[in-house]
Symmetry: C2
Subunit: 332 residues, 2 copies
């Protein structure tokens, strides 16, 4: 009980009801909301939970925490070819929360849900004994039966990734080691780029339709490129080969890779990219690349799928290179 | 990172994949699950989050924590007339979790989802800096457009509640004050009854069809009878009158009420009943009572709805009595 704080009902009315923009939500005044699925669609369901000190820093801007909690879920939806529709929010607030914090947090949600086209459909706000925990369930729609899976890759498919790889992992290293940017001789702009990529992931929602139309398999790169490409190979029972020289890196990441091979490796194994890896049959590649260009999302072909038992290999200059994925980045 | 613990993927395979019984879940091996809505239905969405030390005691049996996390959501679905279909689970584990704990927790989920007829559709397991947090999103189905709301009560409706009121609030008091049961002279059986009602809420899923067919408004009693009946009156813009002598109390609660008027009041204002309050038009009462009997759920008529502006009054012996609801039980 926190007697001198606004009641949960007041918080809902003030900060969350304005986010429940669909009529079925009844402005969050009921026990539950009703969602009418679009005819002929399946609902794609995903849930990611973020905790202070594990997935974000407690002092991060509240709107960035809100955006990250929503966007990591939107990234999963995009990888499945789904259009965002609804989300539910669980918020465990630490005892020292302030209304200013909550106002900024809900403003972050408002901006993102307007941008990505979904509505809040419910949630729960509780008191947490310790740090902040944010739990988001996101719901998207795909034409019935057409959810794009991890397990559909076939020999001959080309492997594409969106955007650039490794920036967020480097951004996290910079946060954990404040002297690192100077030791690496990073320009202010490069440092800002990497930090921003960690703080503000960019879900590839705009690419969902292209994935739905052209990809045989797709996954969002959240555990690191090596781990997530490995998931696709294992689940599809195919081998994959990725050419490190084709992996897209930002100028900042290229600079770090040139300076420090260990950090260069972290680009391939670190988490939090929230890019998409898609396998596309050869005959569909032109269509996929054109659709991605129309959507304004950069895509790079980084490798190929072959027959096999689920093994992923990285090559460089035609020779295999060792990229231990360490089982993927552990949020746990 | 917890290097000496099983990886999250192993935990999912061992404890959670067996709970993903529907084919659309792909045994939780993908980023997201696909749910095909039954034709002609709306999906009813609800989310409740529970934290150790707030909603349950950290040392409670793991299967009871699992059951409570699921059941408080099922209670919301039942109140809306919805049939349970799917749930997603967010689990923030404290650092000292054990596999035995997790095995018992997932066994609790398995038993409940079999009993109530739903499947796990996804989730996330993370490390929590402090206590355990469990976040459940539950999804039910109702015929399109027929979700039963809080705001549909009309003058002349009768007010019904299921089961008995106040047991869980008294059970919580017994937990917080170990000497209380003796001071009240409670028999061992009565004490056990009250403690059990707090630990193992009983969602009225079996009553959902009767509510759908007969109720004009419905809410689950989670914040206390006074607060939740108050919500219905306010949202429906009607007045309500509840006769305290008609409110169903268990023998244990009746004993406490006779001994201690203060605790007697707590029965009407305390939370965690997870019973259902339904408003039923006079001509539908016989059908509602018969359907409830068929469903094996006890219902009691405790009052009536009248024209008005949203005020709830309790009476006893024909005279108004003061029952301050204190804004409902605060989980926050």
């Amino acid at each position: 009980m926190v007697a001198d704080r606004p009641h949960e009902f007041d918080l809902i009315a003030r900060y969350f009801a304005p986010l429940a923009t669909d009529p079925g939500c009844l402005a969050l005044t009921d026990d539950a909301a009703a969602l009418t699925p679009s005819p002929g669609t399946d609902l794609v369901l995903t849930k990611d939970m973020l905790a202070a000190g594990v997935h974000f820093f407690p002092g991060d801007p509240p709107d960035s925490i809100a955006a990250k909690a929503l966007r990591v879920n939107l990234s999963d939806l995009a990888a499945k070819g789904a259009r965002p529709r609804a989300y539910l929010l669980g918020l465990a607030l630490q005892d020292d929360w302030t209304e200013d914090w909550l106002a900024a947090f809900s403003a972050g949600l408002a901006a993102d849900q307007a941008r990505f086209g979904l509505s809040l459909y419910g949630g729960d706000t509780i008191r947490s004994g310790a740090g902040l925990v944010v739990s988001v369930t996101a719901i998207g729609e795909v034409p019935a039966g057409r959810t794009v899976r991890r397990n559909g890759a076939r020999p001959g498919d080309r492997i594409f990734v969106t955007g650039t790889i490794g920036d967020a992992a480097l951004g996290l290293r910079l946060r954990l080691d404040p002297g690192l940017a100077d030791r690496l001789g990073l320009a202010a702009q490069e440092r800002e780029h990497l930090l921003r990529r960690y703080l503000w992931p960019e879900p590839r929602t705009a690419l969902a339709a292209a994935i739905l139309d052209h990809a045989s398999a797709s996954i969002d790169v959240s555990d690191g490129l090596a781990a997530d490409a490995g998931h696709v190979c294992r689940e599809s029972r195919v081998d994959g080969v990725i050419d490190v020289d084709l992996v897209p890196f930002s100028p900042a990441a290229r600079g770090v890779r040139a300076q420090d091979p260990g950090l260069g490796l972290a680009c391939l194994t670190g988490g939090d990219d929230y890019e998409i890896l898609a396998c596309v049959p050869p005959q569909a590649c032109d269509g996929f690349v054109a659709a991605a260009a129309d959507a304004g999302v950069a895509v790079s072909c980084i490798g190929e799928v072959a027959e096999g038992g689920g093994r992923l290999t990285f090559t460089q200059g035609g020779r295999p290179v060792q990229v231990s994925d360490g089982g993927g980045f552990r949020h746990f």
